[in-house]
Amino acid sequence: MNAIQPSDPSLWKIVRPATFIFGATAVLYLTGYIGGFDWLRSHSLMLGALSEWTPSLAQGFLLDIWLTIASGMIGTVLGVIIGYGSLSKSEYLRRVIWLCIQFLRNTPGLVFLFAVAFATPYQFDIGGTTIPFPPEAKVIFCFSLKISANIAEIVRGAVNATPVGQWEAGITIGLSRFKIFRLIILPQCLPRMVPPWMNIMALFFSVVPIASLIGIEDAVTYAGLAISSEDTSTLIMPFYLYVLTWFFATAYILQEATRFLEKRNEEKTS
């Protein structure tokens, strides 16, 4: 069974379905572009409209990706800090952090987003300087908090799975608690934490479109705009299907990459 393979096929396996979907989209778009919208429109209303609206949808979709990445980065840093705090020796601190994590994880993202969007000001005036707080920043604020709670749980789980001897060894060479965490524990946990981390990112990538409900112009907003301006109800289904396909293609890569890493971790440990 162990035939030697010329190259590592796993990466291609991950990317293949996505390239197919993106390729089909590109062909659709290019034929619409080269052939001229009018020509396509007369032959196929649906393809013409879809290709015509593709740039706007792509713009909104990129905003979705950007919001996910930005809040993911902030949320990860914050989550590691909160995760470290949830391992604190002080019982009081642990309880407070536990409550915060539960609160952030167990309330709907939409309600949290509304609370941030409607109950915080547009700008802060601190000592004469005005700091603007635009909707995009509010979305990133909201999602980075929600992501951080999930990351904190991952960090806590991973740290609890490392042998206590690691901590004890760190103490014997005179490291502080934070230094043990940062230099000894965290590097060991990293491979185990990456797959669930990617799961969280994929999860929030599919939650970010709710930002369209507070007026962010993301892919869903543009889909709605496209539908209302094309003014035929036959286009509603294709447009939403089109947006779904984009999200699916992107999240599918993440899912397959996560599975690949999980499998590799299992092989390493066994």
Partner: protein, 241 residues
């Protein structure tokens, strides 16, 4: 000023849901709606997920691929867009194809789409549960001459459900949180109702806190119930303690 109004306006806040009977009735109806929507979707998504997970293990390769496709599509796309697709897309499509008489409410479409979304998550977790059933048990059951459906009903399902309970809890929490997407298509659940109230009374912060508390209690209650169920269903000789 009666007592309720004093309580509702305590500390400069304006909790109209405490003293205004109209707002209170609306809010309570919203809670009832969220709860019943969640319960209905729980039943359908658990049954559907279990059936698909069993089919995945019993049936041949095409069924397997179809189920895998279903699961990865619904897991990897935004639930909000799914709801839009079902309500605006399929809703208008059906209405056009079957004439004006074919009208399905936003609530029904929300139920369909949430069932499929959470059903996909449940399929995944039950599938892992079915996989966790030891091979030896099945062989033993076969050796006793049990019929296939008896094996499934008496051995596979009880063990698979037990193994799947922790991740099932997560999915059901996800479901309660996802019912708030019904807001986008005007399903009169608690978020939509609260939006109406704060639009009327201009008490955003009060309604937000009420929403947080309500969701926190609903989800906390669910988690507590599921933990209790988990403890009740623990098999002797299994688990950590």
């Amino acid at each position: 000023m009666d007592l309720l109004e004093q309580i509702g306006t305590l500390g400069g806040f304006n909790y109209t849901i405490v003293y205004d009977s109209f707002d209170r009735a609306r809010f309570i109806r919203g809670i009832g709606f969220t709860v019943s929507l969640s319960l209905a979707c729980m039943v359908t998504s658990i049954v559907g997920g279990l059936v698909l997970a069993l089919l995945y293990h019993v049936r041949g390769r095409p069924t397997k691929m179809l189920i895998e496709f279903f699961v990865s599509v619904f897991r990897n796309t935004p639930p909000l867009v799914q709801i839009y697709f079902f309500f605006f897309g399929l809703g208008t499509f059906f209405a056009q194809t079957f004439g004006g008489g074919f009208v399905v409410s936003a609530t029904a479409w929300a139920m369909v789409s949430l069932t499929l979304f959470i059903g996909a998550l449940n399929t995944e977790c039950f599938r892992a549960g079915v996989q966790a059933v030891p091979e030896g048990y099945l062989e033993g059951a076969k050796a006793l001459g049990l019929r296939p459906w008896v094996i499934i009903w008496k051995i596979v399902i009880p063990l698979a459900v037990r193994a799947a309970l922790p991740s099932l809890t997560n999915n059901l929490v996800e479901l309660i949180k996802a019912t708030s997407y019904g807001y986008a298509i005007a399903v009169p659940e608690i978020l939509y109702v609260s939006h109406q109230i704060w639009a009327d009374e201009l008490n955003v912060i009060e309604m937000m806190s009420a929403l947080f508390v309500t969701y926190f209690l609903l989800i906390g209650g669910l988690i507590y119930l599921m933990r209790t169920l988990e403890q009740r269903m623990t098999l002797p000789g299994y688990g950590s303690n």
